[in-house]
């Protein structure tokens, strides 16, 4: 990718602007309530933007268009459970969390059950979020390293280090205000990218034509049922049922029990502002995600007319071209060019047939496009196999590179810099909130709880800052390890997340809805459910979204059963 002086200027000005704004907004009272919860003074719209900024990482904006390009828009169904989760949280979690004036979600578990349940869940949060924050730094850094040739260690430090300045200085308040600014810049830049995707189409091809090209190639598959000839496919990742049910449980767990999100809406002025922030997040999230995915479909239409790379990660492609497999790879690439020509002819045929309203010609163009797409996929798989042969450790998933490749190919000078800036900003939004949450859990659930020394509010404030700094440095260190260990660490962190989410949600659901269950019963039930979830994961019979449902339901059932057995034994 060609990164010119204008791009550097735009990138540096944008990033410095956000950091300065974060520092400017950092004045807060020097105690834990000021530092971790902005003195509980935030209005709903800031809470909503903070919730959105925390959820959307850099990878969200890189993966989503690429996901639509390769697999179509059905990924949007993953978010269908989210609005429903916002309603459940507004009814149950929010009023109780606010009434108890909590700092962390896990404090509630001690009030309801016992110290060991609180400490276990807080520990699981620190473990999984601490590691995944490192990956949130590493994943976009790797993309920039591959696309722009930047040194991976320096990129990791910039990606994870610059935000530490305002996150340590201003705590939750700086995090929220910078997220607001980041949100505006990110969506404005994505809108510009979408505009260029449409205007870069050949003369005479418009937005509706682009939709027809993507749709007839199977990319506008927004609603899928997951039902095949053999019945419902439990391993199918994204369909309306896994989205509505699995997505509901995942969103309940993420927004209700993950401190990086709970910490956002606890900053609200009152229950009303918290509820409004969550509900408005539920209102806007699905349409916004639809818009981001639609950009991927527009890229697909664009690359139906212009030469698309067979493999989008250029660094990986350059590596195979230097290996002894170069000849084999070039032969496959030339086959891909033939398929592309067929695809272009089919796309032109389709647009002409649509203009002439010739149904028969539309049908045959659709069949030709789908055939070209199937052939293209086969060749891409073949090329990925060659890349793997040349380097067995190579990452053959190029989804994250598709959007940036388009940006480099099409966007004018300066806008490329802006798109690189939004990768930083999106990463910072989620990392900053995670660091703030990791520090608050360490301080409130561990330091305050287990330290014998009574601290003054000023000392607590200083410790809060130190823990934020510690978690920032820890995450950068994990990002360094991720580079050396490669995909294995990323996979391990993702697996860890899907193992614990359902169980933690189950503990909270029992706490809220099953009054008679006591601490020991829920603790044993959580351990048993975890064994069950891990067992099912290794059996590989079900998609990861369903693991959240299984984990949560298992905790509820086991804890009720154990509580009944305990009562019978005593009785």
């Amino acid at each position: 990718m060609n990164f010119q002086l204008t791009d550097w200027a735009v990138l540096i000005v944008t990033l410095l602007g956000v950091i300065s704004y974060g520092i400017y907004k950092s004045r807060t009272s020097k105690n834990l309530e000021g530092y971790f919860l902005s003195n509980r003074q935030m209005p709903w719209w800031l809470v909503m933007l903070s919730i959105m900024g925390t959820q959307a990482s850099a990878i969200t904006f890189l993966t989503a268009p690429g996901q639509a390009y390769t697999d179509g828009m059905r990924f949007v169904q993953y978010y269908f459970g989210l609005p429903l989760a916002m309603i459940v949280l507004s009814i149950t979690f929010v009023p109780i969390f606010h009434k108890l004036k909590l700092f962390t979600a896990y404090e509630f578990l001690e009030k309801r059950f016992d110290l060991k349940t609180r400490t276990l869940t807080s520990f699981l949060f620190l473990l999984s979020r601490g590691l995944s924050t490192g990956i949130s730094i590493y994943a976009p850094s790797l993309v920039l390293h591959s696309m722009l040739g930047w040194d991976i260690y320096v990129t990791n430090i910039l990606m994870g280090g610059l935000l530490i300045i305002y996150t340590v200085t201003g705590g939750a308040k700086s995090v929220a205000y910078t997220q607001q600014l980041q949100f505006i810049i990110i969506y404005a830049a994505m809108f510009v990218a979408g505009y260029y995707a449409i205007t870069s189409l050949p003369r005479g091809i418009g937005f509706m034509d682009a939709l027809h090209i993507a749709g007839k190639s199977g990319k506008l598959n927004v609603i899928t049922t997951g039902v095949t000839e053999n019945g419902f496919d439990w391993k199918d990742r994204y369909n309306i049922w896994s989205g509505l049910i699995g997505g509901l449980f995942l969103a309940l767990s993420y927004f209700g029990t993950d401190q990086s999100q709970v910490g956002r809406y606890l900053t609200a002025k009152d229950t009303k502002e918290s509820r409004m922030g969550l509900l408005m997040n539920g209102f806007f999230k699905v349409p916004l995600q639809f818009f981001i995915l639609l950009i991927g479909c527009l890229l697909f239409a664009y690359y139906s007319f212009f030469k698309a790379p067979a493999f989008f990660n250029k660094a990986q492609e350059d590596a195979v071209l230097k290996s002894s497999y170069a000849g084999e790879y070039k032969a496959a690439a030339s086959n891909y060019t033939v398929v592309q020509d067929e695809k272009k002819a089919a796309a032109l045929g389709l647009t002409n047939a649509l203009k002439e309203k010739n149904e028969q010609a539309v049908s045959s163009a659709r069949a030709a496009m789908q055939q070209a797409e199937t052939n293209g996929k086969k060749i891409r798989e073949q090329m990925k196999g060659i890349i793997k042969k040349a380097d067995p450790n190579a990452d053959t998933n190029d989804t994250n590179y598709i959007f940036l490749r388009f940006v480099g190919d099409v966007l004018p000078k300066g806008l490329v810099g802006l798109i690189i800036a939004i990768i930083f900003l999106a990463a910072w939004g989620s990392i900053a909130a995670a660091l703030n949450a990791l520090a608050s859990s360490t301080m409130i659930d561990f330091h305050q709880k287990f330290s014998k020394k009574k601290l003054s509010p000023e000392e607590e404030y200083k410790w809060g800052k130190l823990y934020t700094l510690f978690w920032g440095l820890f995450s950068i260190l994990i990002a360094f390890f991720a580079y050396n260990l490669g995909n294995s660490l990323i996979e391990a962190v993702n697996i860890l997340g899907s193992w614990f989410y359902g169980t933690i949600l189950g503990i909270f659901l029992v706490a809220f809805y099953v009054r008679k269950v006591k601490g020991s019963a829920v603790f044993t039930a959580a351990v048993l459910s975890e064994i069950l979830v891990i067992g099912i994961y290794y059996m590989d019979i079900i998609s990861f979204l369903w693991l959240n449902v299984i984990g949560a339901v298992a905790v509820i059932l086991f804890s009720v059963l154990i509580q009944i057995l305990t009562s019978l034994k005593r009785g």
Partner: protein
């Protein structure tokens, strides 16, 4: 004061129906969108 119930508490049931209703409308729209361009 923080965390006190507001005197002008909105009608939350209406808000919940609004959010769930929007989801339903979006799903219906997406269904027809999928069909329209397939």
């Amino acid at each position: 004061m923080n965390n006190r119930p507001d005197k002008k508490e909105p009608n939350w049931t209406g808000w919940y129906i609004g959010v769930a209703g929007e989801l339903l409308l979006l799903i219906i729209f997406f269904y027809f969108f999928t069909q329209q361009f397939a």
